[in-house]
């Protein structure tokens, strides 16, 4: 499936800022869409659309930080670059703690914003590739039988077949058969690869 082209979304209630950012991004050949409010952006937001977000912190109605919270609730991974004319450290720290990609204070140089946007677009590409990878692993995990899943969990904890057999109360030969099925269904070439797959889908601490 071919990826959609990346778009930079600009959300700012200031007409002049929206216009200047649109012109700047256009001059750099970067597709861009602008919105005057968080609500306007969220009403049409499609998480499948690759890109990044340039978001004003202070806006009437829903603020930029509130919109970031809403995107987090929706499980969105789009990188967010905050821009603000009145930034302070607690605000920047809060934005970064909630996953902001960057936080820029106005006035900023055009090139400074373009650099951050380019980096955010690279990050978005990486995020989406990682998500596709973990989705594929989860799909394979879903094909395992409950017993195969038990065997997988034990072998990726580093237990030898003999120990797994003891833990599950089955013969070592049975474990070997389940283990072969696990490797086949997970499309893993080695135990190390299997462990890496499980680490990729493990919940982050």
């Amino acid at each position: 499936m071919k990826d959609l082209p990346q778009i930079v979304f600009v959300v700012d209630d200031d007409d002049a800022v929206r216009d200047s950012l649109r012109l700047l991004l256009k001059s750099a050949g970067i597709p861009c869409e602008v919105f005057a409010s968080a609500q306007e952006f969220l009403s049409g937001y499609d998480a499948a659309q690759p890109g990044c977000l340039v978001l004003d912190v202070r806006m009437p109605g829903m603020s930029g930080l509130e919109m970031q919270h809403e995107l987090n609730l929706r499980g969105a991974t789009i990188p967010v670059i905050f821009i603000t004319g009145h930034g302070d450290i607690p605000m920047a720290v809060e934005a970064m703690q909630h996953g902001a990609f960057d936080f820029l204070q106005k006035p900023f140089r055009d090139q400074e914003l373009l650099d951050r946007v380019q980096r955010a677009l690279v990050r978005d590409t990486e995020n989406r590739a990682r998500l596709r990878h973990t989705d594929r692993i989860r799909e394979r995990l879903a094909t395992l039988s409950p017993r195969e899943r038990e065997v997988l969990d034990l072998v990726t904890q580093g237990k030898a077949n003999k120990m797994v057999a003891g833990d599950l109360g089955v013969s070592q030969r049975t474990v070997e058969i389940h283990r072969a099925h696990v490797m086949q269904k997970m499309e893993a070439g080695s135990l190390a690869e299997l462990v890496r797959m499980m680490m990729a889908v493990a919940p982050r601490q």
């Binding site: 930034g87 302070d88 450290i89 920047a92 720290v93 970064m96 703690q97 960057d102 936080f103 204070q105 601490q205």
Partner: protein
């Protein structure tokens, strides 16, 4: 306590907490580092190692509760030290103290793995709260 030349043992008062885990303070000998140490005087096991090597050794220890980067370091830029410390201990709370209003520095520290950035002055209370949470 390897390489420690400061230990702020004291009675627990408001915001303080008794813990066997170590609160590590990093920073050159300066007024700001001393202010941070004073702010944390009610916590037990606060250490201020005398060398970067000792600081990193304590940071990588299982006993570490948190790391407070109070000020510039003599031997290494703060950004590099922060990355190194984060590399040693993925989940350790790391607090970076910064001058008020230096948003760019705060953002940079957060990107490099700080748990929070606290401006001093005025947020002494915020530092005590963060450290109290970390030692629990």
């Amino acid at each position: 306590m390897v390489g420690s030349d400061y230990n702020a043992d004291g009675a627990t008062k408001d915001g303080g907490a008794q813990s066997t885990r170590t609160i590590i303070v990093a920073g050159q000998s300066s007024q700001r580092t001393r202010e941070v140490l004073r702010t944390l005087r009610d916590f037990t096991n606060v250490i201020w190692p005398t060398s970067l090597e000792a600081t990193l050794e304590e940071t990588g220890s299982a006993d570490a509760a948190c790391l407070v980067i109070a000020d510039d370091l003599r031997e290494e830029p703060v950004d590099e030290f922060l990355q190194e410390a984060r590399g040693l201990h993925r989940n350790l709370p790391i607090f970076v103290i910064t001058d008020p209003d230096d948003v760019a520095e705060a953002v940079s520290a957060m990107r490099l793995g700080a748990t929070a950035v606290i401006e001093i002055p005025p947020s002494y209370a915020a530092l005590r709260e963060e450290v109290a949470r970390a030692v629990q």
